[in-house]
Amino acid sequence: MSRRRAWALRLAGVVVFLLLWEVAGRMLGNALFAPFSSVIGGFPATVRDYKLFSALAGSFQQLVLGYLLGCVAGIVLGTAMGRSALLDGLLQPWVSMMFVTSIASLVPLFIIMFGFGLAFRVAIVFMSAIWYVLLVTYHGARGVTPDLLQTARAFEASRTQTFFKVLLPALYPYILVGMRIGLAHAIRAMVIAEMYVIVGFGGVIYNAGVEISTVSLFGALLTIMVVSVALTEMLKWFGRRTAPWYEERQQLSN
């Protein structure tokens, strides 16, 4: 399939979807299923009434903080577990356990441990991002060729030097993939935490949801969709720029 035909098909898909949405929306009405045109037309009012963008900006800060902390912890632990059989054996059962734990089930516990504020939201995002970054980095670290490490040893590189100058660059493509999966989960967790305690952007979704009309609710959903897609694309773009060999690895681990 030519590139042009592929783009035409994608565009057609989006147009058909929006048309179906519009027709269904007009038949069902704003209360049940607001049509696309009403959602876009009502968007300025949604932004004003719910202070949409300032809520988003506030949530974004907590998201970035928790996500980056989770990434750093995931990279360090994943590399350590991938390179040391002892650490792997000691941590693996607990990591597997955390991996299946539902983030939502942690929310009531984390409220007691961290309160309703910044620490709570950061902790929830952290807990959702770390395991995916850890797992992908771990698989990457296990596959690092011994040649690289032996060369580092031959040049008498210290442990820190080996980590920063040999392991991290070798793991870079894996880390980027892990970070991309982790980001999707971090955004989900942020919305879970915020809808539960009704603050930030999740709070906007909750409050818009109890309105009679679905116009604001759909506006908020479209906003979080755009933000999520944009952040993911930014990570991909960053990956392509900083590591051109990233593309092929990405396909392998998708």
Partner: protein, 252 residues
Amino acid sequence: MTLKRSLMLFPVSIVLGLLVWEAIGRALPKALLAPPSAVLGRLLTMTGDGALPLALLGSIQHMAVGYLLAVVAAIPVGIIVGRNAAVATAVEPLLNAVYAIPPVAFVPFFVIWFGLYFEGRVALVFAMCFFEILINVLQGVRDIDRGLLDAARALEVRGLALYRKVVIPAASPFIFTGLRVGIGRAVNAMITAELFFAAVNLGQILKNSGNAFDTTALFAVILFVSLFGLACQEGMRLAERLVIPWHHGREA
């Protein structure tokens, strides 16, 4: 050597982890972090007196219905879309877009359409599983070896027989991955739904324990749900080995 060693390390890991947790739990006030000795005791009493199994029995209902609906919907849709390159290209951006929306954000919408109770919870479980299964089935069908399809064409295998004898068996490792990831998501969705719609079953126990600052009970329920999730995924892995034994060991 590695397998033996990791088997030996497993009990060490559990004991060491519990000891660290116990030490931290005892150092902190009990309302903050319950020590594992208390949590395991509570887990046993709550299982013994029937509270957790009964609640799980209630929770499994909406989980099973939502999961089965998602499986029944996602597998045919994935196969049909995956076999048609034009349709697959057209729906790909839409799938990515919808997938980018956190499923919980749909809860207010589901409340409007399906209410606060059973049907609403089923809708959330369905939404959280459907895309996960669909994406795997789609990938599996699109990845089918061209040689297999060419051979089928040469042998004039067409229509339903093509799907029954070639497409579905060839895509089945991916379909099973979808089913396994999907059931993990279903357990996740099960407890999420009980916290975000009207609180019932396990979600109600969690909420009440949270309101009572009872971290021992909270840990016990979280542990219980996680163990249930692990059991479901392992069960699915076992089913995979029984149904498609030829794929065993080739898993990445």
